[in-house]
Symmetry: C2
Subunit: 230 residues, 2 copies
Amino acid sequence: MTVWDRPEPPTRPVPLDRERIVAAAIALADEGGLEAVSLRKVAARLDAGPMRLYGYISTKEELFDLMVDEVHAEILPEERPGDWREALRVHACLTRQAALRHEWLADLLGGRPALGPNALAVTETMLAALDGLADIDTVMRAVETVSAYFTGAIRREVANLRAERATGLSKRDWQRASGPHVTKMLATGRFPTLAKLVHDGTEVDAEESFATGLDWVLDAVAAKLARPEA
Amino acid sequence: MTVWDRPEPPTRPVPLDRERIVAAAIALADEGGLEAVSLRKVAARLDAGPMRLYGYISTKEELFDLMVDEVHAEILPEERPGDWREALRVHACLTRQAALRHEWLADLLGGRPALGPNALAVTETMLAALDGLADIDTVMRAVETVSAYFTGAIRREVANLRAERATGLSKRDWQRASGPHVTKMLATGRFPTLAKLVHDGTEVDAEESFATGLDWVLDAVAAKLARPEA
DNA sequence: AAAAAACCAATACAGTGTCTCGACATGAGA
DNA sequence: TCTCATGTCGAGACACTGTATTGGTTTTTT
């Protein structure tokens, strides 16, 4: 028996930890979407049997939670910006950019309460940015409102992006893109305003659209912070 | 051979159509959540083999789309209310109520573009309510912003509701509820503002919270409709 | 050195969405 | 009325999924 046919040592099991598992899952999700994440594939990527993961994770949902929290680490702002408005604004934009990097995040955002350490830290900095400008309840409401906005906006943007991607690279060709179905619907004349919009509406950049809507909401928050009785 | 052991006539196949399929799927989802909806179970509820559904539906995702559109029929307002603000407001509230009736809707909302006939009709009435008050692009942005808000808000509300339900009927006991984890996190002192909020924050009714945030956003929209240059 | 504990891979199970194919029923043509 | 073509339907198969169990192997403790 020479060196060559001596069998490989039995693949010394790489020590595993949550970080590595989550990283593998994120990589998988980045490549093939959330549905490409299966415990078997995650384990395979770490040269381990599927059951090994259950030492570090008790269910697949928990893995998803960990993935979300890991992305929240990317969102944590480096230094606290001066005013609350900038703080909320950049947080919203950072979240959006994270969701564009990891599209699967859109599927998970808001789906479960984010209670991981990084998510809590992010929430803390948002609250801190507003702390003192109004009573704590108003502050909370402000954060919740802004969060609700950008959660929804991000979700819609990613949904549209996928739809465009799926129906060939059509962007403005909403009608032609999503099959003859919408075209026919619009042709019925039952949706005049919508038809007008599709016909006359300006093509707007997704990022700009996100930013404008965000600014509106921030304006509203500013008004309430100034006159909390309203 | 008596009447009793004469075999049932071979279960004359009930004529199927999309409506019945979608209704069965919705019933299933209402009872056991989205994950309780499997093509096999839907088919079983209609006394049919699983493959039979593929005559009316080409994929499970399509079934989900149909379910969402069916719920949009419940949302369609009966008559058009006077001013645009009321129109947007009741639409948001109706959507929220629909999501409380069909919690699975929260999982699907915003996940894909809603292009079904009912969804289009709903969008049409929202656009129509705003039509003429500003250029069509601003109108669209307004609708999108409000939609983004209530999509996100509904999602969060349902997520919290489920979390509360899962961790025993705890509402205010956010900390104790979600396990010792959050409690310990707050005890670290790394999240002072959050801790203050949990300690001093007022318990707020979910519906009221939704409505206030919505009013803020509507205020913002009103301001932009008045001065579209801003 | 022996015993105990911890760990881990293989197997198993019940379920999923979807494809393929053979049987059966129904309609048309002779 | 008999036959043949057509098309619809369901049973089975396939490749997966998340998770429980189990029995062997390694590591630690006594």
